[in-house]
C-alpha cells in the first residue's frame, strides 16, 4: 500500500507559494518602468493597498497575479497541501501524461504535479485550448488503451472542452478529467454543479469534499472510465481542498485494484459457438471490439478457426491484409452474423441468425441515444465486452469443429482469400485514376507516402473518412496502431489534437506517426501544432488542403439546386479562399518544420523525404499539400 508522503514545506521568505505574499506589489512593478514602478509601489504601500484613481484595486491586482485570496497555512505557506496527497492517489493509475491549459482553479494540483512529483509520470503537457487537451487525450487513449489525465479550469474550461468530451464519449474512449472549482475572485468561474453541463456525455462524475473522499472518487473514476464501454469521467475538486494543509488523520492511499471487464455467460457463448460452427456462410462484423492489441490477436484466431470473413470497424480490429478481411464470398448471403461491439448491430437478413456481443447497453445516457446501441433483436444477445468474451467463444468453437466441418471451412477460406485478393486488386487499380492530377489526388497523396514508411514502424493517427479511405485500401494495415479511426461524434476540431496525443503515445516505441490533416479541422485550434513542437511529438502532418469546409460545399450545392437558384453562390460561407491560408507558415510560426503549398504531385516525394527525416529525428513536421477536394 502506498503511503501518503507527508512533507513540510520550507517556511523561508521565498518558500513554496511564499512569493504570493508580496506579489501584488510585484505586479505593479512589472507593468511599469523602474521609476514609475517605485512610485506605484510607494502609492500602494501608503494607501494600504486600497483603491485610488490612478492604481488598480488590491482585489484586481490579486487577480492579476493569480492570487484570488490569501493562501491558507502558516504565514501564507501551506504545509503538506492536499494536492500532494491527490498526486499520491493519482500515481497509482500510472498516467504517462497530464495535459492542461493552465487555470487558477487547479493551480494547487498543477504545482504538486510539477514540484512534488517532479513532473514525471505524469509529465505535464501544455495545451493551448481545452478542446485540444481532451482531443489529445482521445488520440492517446486510442493508441495506449488507457487514459491521459486532463485538468480543466472550472466551468469555463469544461465549456471549452465539451465538444472534445462528446467526441470521446461517442467513441468510447477513456479519459480521466479533473476540473477545479474556484470562485474566490471570479464568481463566474464557480458553479454549484460543475459537471451538470456535460453530465450527459460522460460516464460518471463526483465532487469529493475531503481528501479521503478524493481517493475513493478517483479510484471509482478510473475504474468506470476503463470499464467497457469505456468513456470519460470527471472529478470536480475545490481549490481549498487542493491548497489547504492536509489535516485529515490517518490518511493513506488506498490500494487500487483493476476491475476485469465482463465476459458473456457460458450458456450463451456455447449457443453462439454451435451456430457459428454449423453455419455455411458466417460473417463477423466489428465495431470497437479490439480494446487492446490482444483483441486483434483473438479475433484473428476466431476468424481463422471458422474461416469466416471479418469486416467493419472504424479503427483496427482485424488486419486488413489478412485473406479473411472482407465482407464475404460475392453472391452469398450470411446465414449467421456475429457482431462485436457494433452500434446498432444489423439483425439477420433473409432469415439469417444474429449473435450480438456488445457492452454498450451497460452504460447508456438518455440524451444521446443514437451514440449508443438501439435495441438489437439478435437471436443471441450478450451484454458483455467482446474482447473479454472471445477466449471462451474460441474455446467453445474449437470443441465443436469436426474433421468434416474443417474441410468445409478450408474450402470456404480459399474462396474468401480470392475475394479479398480481388477487392485489393480493384482498389489498387482505382488508385491509378488521376495519379498525375494537379492539385494532388488523395490516392496519390497516400500512395506516394507508402515507400517512405513501409519499412518503418508507423502509425496512422488521423481519420481517412473525407479521403476515400485510401490508407486502408493501399497501405498494409495489420497492427492495432496502424489506424485509429474517426472523431466518434463527428465533431470537427478533433483531428489535430488527437494526432498529437497519439503521436506522444507512439513516441516511446520509436514509431512514426502520420496525420493527414483536413484544413477545416486544423483551423478550430491550430495552436496544438505548438504543443507538438514544444513536446517534440514525432508527427508528420500532411495537409489535405482543399481550401474549404468541403462537406458543406457539396451540401450547399444540393441545397441551392434543389431550390432552383443561386448555384453560383455556394462558395459563400463554405470556402477557405481569398486569402488562401499558408499552413507551412503557420507551422513555422508555431516552431516546427513547415513546407508547401505543394500542388504538383511530382514534388511530393522529395517533400515527404524531408518531412520523414525531421520526424525520425524526433520532431514534428508539416507539409502543406493542395489537394483535389475529395478522395
Amino acid at each position: 500500500m502506498a503511503r501518503f508522503r507527508k512533507r513540510l514545506v520550507e517556511t523561508g521568505p521565498v518558500g513554496r507559494r511564499g512569493f504570493l505574499k508580496g506579489a501584488a506589489a510585484g505586479a505593479a512593478a512589472l507593468v511599469a518602468t523602474p521609476p514609475e514602478a517605485a512610485e506605484a509601489q510607494e502609492r500602494q504601500l501608503a494607501s494600504g493597498g486600497s483603491a485610488t484613481a490612478a492604481t488598480p484595486t488590491q482585489a484586481a491586482l490579486n487577480v492579476d497575479v493569480g492570487n484570488g485570496r490569501p493562501i491558507p497555512g502558516i504565514n501564507g505557506i501551506a504545509l503538506s497541501p492536499g494536492s500532494d496527497y491527490m498526486v499520491d492517489v493519482l500515481k497509482q493509475f500510472d498516467f504517462e501524461y497530464v495535459v492542461a491549459n493552465p487555470g487558477t482553479s487547479f493551480a494547487g494540483l498543477h504545482e504538486s504535479l510539477i514540484n512534488y512529483n517532479n513532473n514525471v509520470k505524469p509529465e505535464f503537457l501544455t495545451a493551448c485550448h481545452e478542446e485540444s487537451a481532451v482531443s489529445m487525450a482521445h488520440g492517446y487513449a486510442k493508441i495506449e488503451g488507457k487514459p491521459m489525465l486532463v485538468l480543466l479550469h472550472a466551468d469555463v474550461g469544461i465549456q471549452h472542452a465539451s465538444m472534445a468530451i462528446f467526441n470521446a464519449y461517442a467513441d468510447r474512449v477513456p479519459i480521466f478529467m479533473i476540473a477545479g472549482n474556484w470562485g474566490h475572485a471570479v464568481q463566474a468561474h464557480n458553479a454549484q454543479d460543475m459537471a451538470l453541463m456535460i453530465r450527459d456525455m460522460i460516464k460518471w462524475d463526483d465532487e469529493p469534499r475531503s481528501l479521503a473522499g478524493f481517493a475513493d472518487a478517483a479510484q471509482k473514476a478510473y475504474s468506470i472510465a476503463m470499464m467497457p464501454p469505456m468513456g470519460p469521467t470527471l472529478l470536480v475538486v475545490d481549490e481549498d481542498l487542493q491548497e489547504m494543509t492536509n489535516k485529515e488523520p490517518n490518511l493513506r492511499v488506498p490500494k487500487f485494484k483493476r476491475i476485469q471487464p465482463p465476459s458473456g455467460d457460458l450458456g450463451s457463448v456455447r449457443e453462439a459457438a454451435k451456430l457459428l460452427v454449423n453455419a455455411e456462410n458466417p460473417v463477423i462484423i466489428t465495431g470497437r471490439s479490439a480494446r487492446t492489441a490482444n483483441g486483434m490477436t483473438l479475433l484473428v484466431e476466431l476468424a481463422e478457426l471458422l474461416q469466416a470473413p471479418v469486416s467493419g470497424g472504424d479503427r483496427m480490429n482485424f488486419p486488413l491484409t489478412h485473406p479473411l478481411s472482407g465482407t464475404g464470398i460475392p453472391g452469398t448471403q450470411a446465414d449467421v452474423t456475429l457482431t462485436l461491439e457494433v452500434n446498432n448491430a444489423p439483425v439477420g437478413r433473409n432469415g439469417g441468425k444474429t449473435i450480438n456481443i456488445s457492452s454498450t447497453i451497460l452504460s447508456v445516457k438518455n440524451n444521446y441515444q443514437d451514440v449508443g446501441d438501439r435495441y438489437t433483436a439478435a437471436d443471441i444477445d450478450m451484454a458483455a465486452d467482446a474482447e473479454a468474451t472471445l477466449p471462451a467463444l474460441i474455446e467453445e468453437c474449437r470443441k465443436l469443429v469436426t474433421a468434416d466441418r474443417k474441410r468445409v471451412f478450408e474450402e470456404r477460406g480459399k474462396k474468401l482469400a480470392e475475394a479479398h485478393r480481388e477487392t485489393k486488386r480493384k482498389d489498387i487499380e482505382l488508385a491509378a485514376i488521376g495519379w498525375d492530377a494537379s492539385p494532388v489526388s488523395l490516392n496519390r497523396l497516400y500512395g506516394e507516402l507508402w515507400p517512405f514508411i513501409k519499412n518503418e514502424d508507423w502509425s496512422m493517427v488521423s481519420w481517412d473518412g473525407f479521403m476515400g479511405g485510401w490508407p486502408r485500401r493501399l497501405w498494409a494495415c495489420d497492427k492495432h496502431y496502424h489506424y485509429i479511426g474517426a472523431q466518434g461524434a463527428g465533431g470537427m476540431g478533433y483531428g489535430a489534437g488527437a494526432a498529437v496525443g497519439a503521436a506522444l503515445a507512439n513516441k516511446k516505441y520509436g514509431r512514426i506517426s502520420i496525420n493527414v490533416q483536413t484544413d477545416g479541422d486544423l483551423n478550430y485550434a491550430p495552436a496544438v501544432l505548438w504543443t507538438a513542437a514544444h513536446h517534440k511529438a514525432p508527427l508528420l502532418t500532411i495537409m489535405h488542403n482543399n481550401r474549404a469546409y468541403h462537406q458543406e460545399v457539396m451540401r450547399m450545392q444540393r441545397q441551392a439546386t434543389s431550390m432552383n437558384r443561386g448555384a453560383d453562390r455556394i462558395h459563400i460561407g463554405t470556402k477557405l479562399w481569398n486569402p488562401e491560408i499558408d499552413y507551412a507558415s503557420i507551422a513555422k510560426g508555431y516552431g516546427m518544420y513547415g513546407e508547401g503549398p505543394i500542388s504538383d504531385p511530382k514534388d511530393l516525394a522529395a517533400a515527404y523525404k524531408r518531412g520523414i527525416e525531421r520526424v525520425k529525428n524526433g520532431e514534428p513536421a508539416l507539409i502543406d499539400v493542395v489537394t483535389q477536394p475529395r478522395g
Partner: protein, 127 residues
C-alpha cells in the same frame, strides 16, 4: 421496366431538344465555371476524375447527352443534383462541356506506376 422506359424516353427527348439548341462551348470560360463559379470540382475533382461524383474524364457523352443529363440527373440514381437553365444557362453548360473535353486523361494502369505496382504485388500475393 417502366422506370427504364421513362428514363430512355426522357433522355431521347432531352437529347433531341438539346441537339436542336446546342451552343458552341468555350473551354477557357468553362474552366472558370467548373472550378470557381459552380464548383463542379467539389464532387468530380479539378481533374474530372477524382471525388465522390462520376468520373467525367474521358468524357464519352455527346454534348447533347451531357446537357440533357445535367438538366435531369434524377432519372438515374447517381446523386447528381439537377441544374436547370435558370440556375446554369445553356451557354455556360456548353462551356463546361468544352472544358471537360479538354481535360487530359491521367489514368494509367497500376502496374505502370512503380509505387502502385509494388503495393499490388505485396498485397495480392498471399496464398
Amino acid at each position: 421496366m417502366c422506370r427504364i422506359l421513362n428514363f430512355t424516353l426522357a433522355l431521347i427527348f432531352g437529347t433531341l431538344i438539346a441537339v436542336a439548341q446546342q451552343p458552341a462551348g468555350d473551354a477557357s470560360r468553362g474552366k472558370e465555371l467548373y472550378d470557381k463559379k459552380y464548383l463542379c470540382s467539389a464532387c468530380h475533382g479539378f481533374s474530372g476524375q477524382n471525388g465522390v461524383g462520376a468520373r467525367l474524364v474521358p468524357m464519352k457523352l455527346t454534348q447533347a447527352a451531357f446537357m440533357a443529363y445535367v438538366r435531369h440527373p434524377h432519372d438515374t440514381p447517381t446523386g447528381m443534383p439537377p441544374y436547370t437553365a435558370k440556375v446554369m444557362p445553356d451557354q455556360e453548360l456548353a462551356d463546361i462541356y468544352a472544358y471537360i473535353k479538354s481535360l487530359p486523361d491521367s489514368a494509367k494502369k497500376a502496374k505502370d506506376i512503380p509505387t502502385l505496382n509494388d503495393i499490388l504485388n505485396s498485397q495480392t500475393n498471399h496464398p
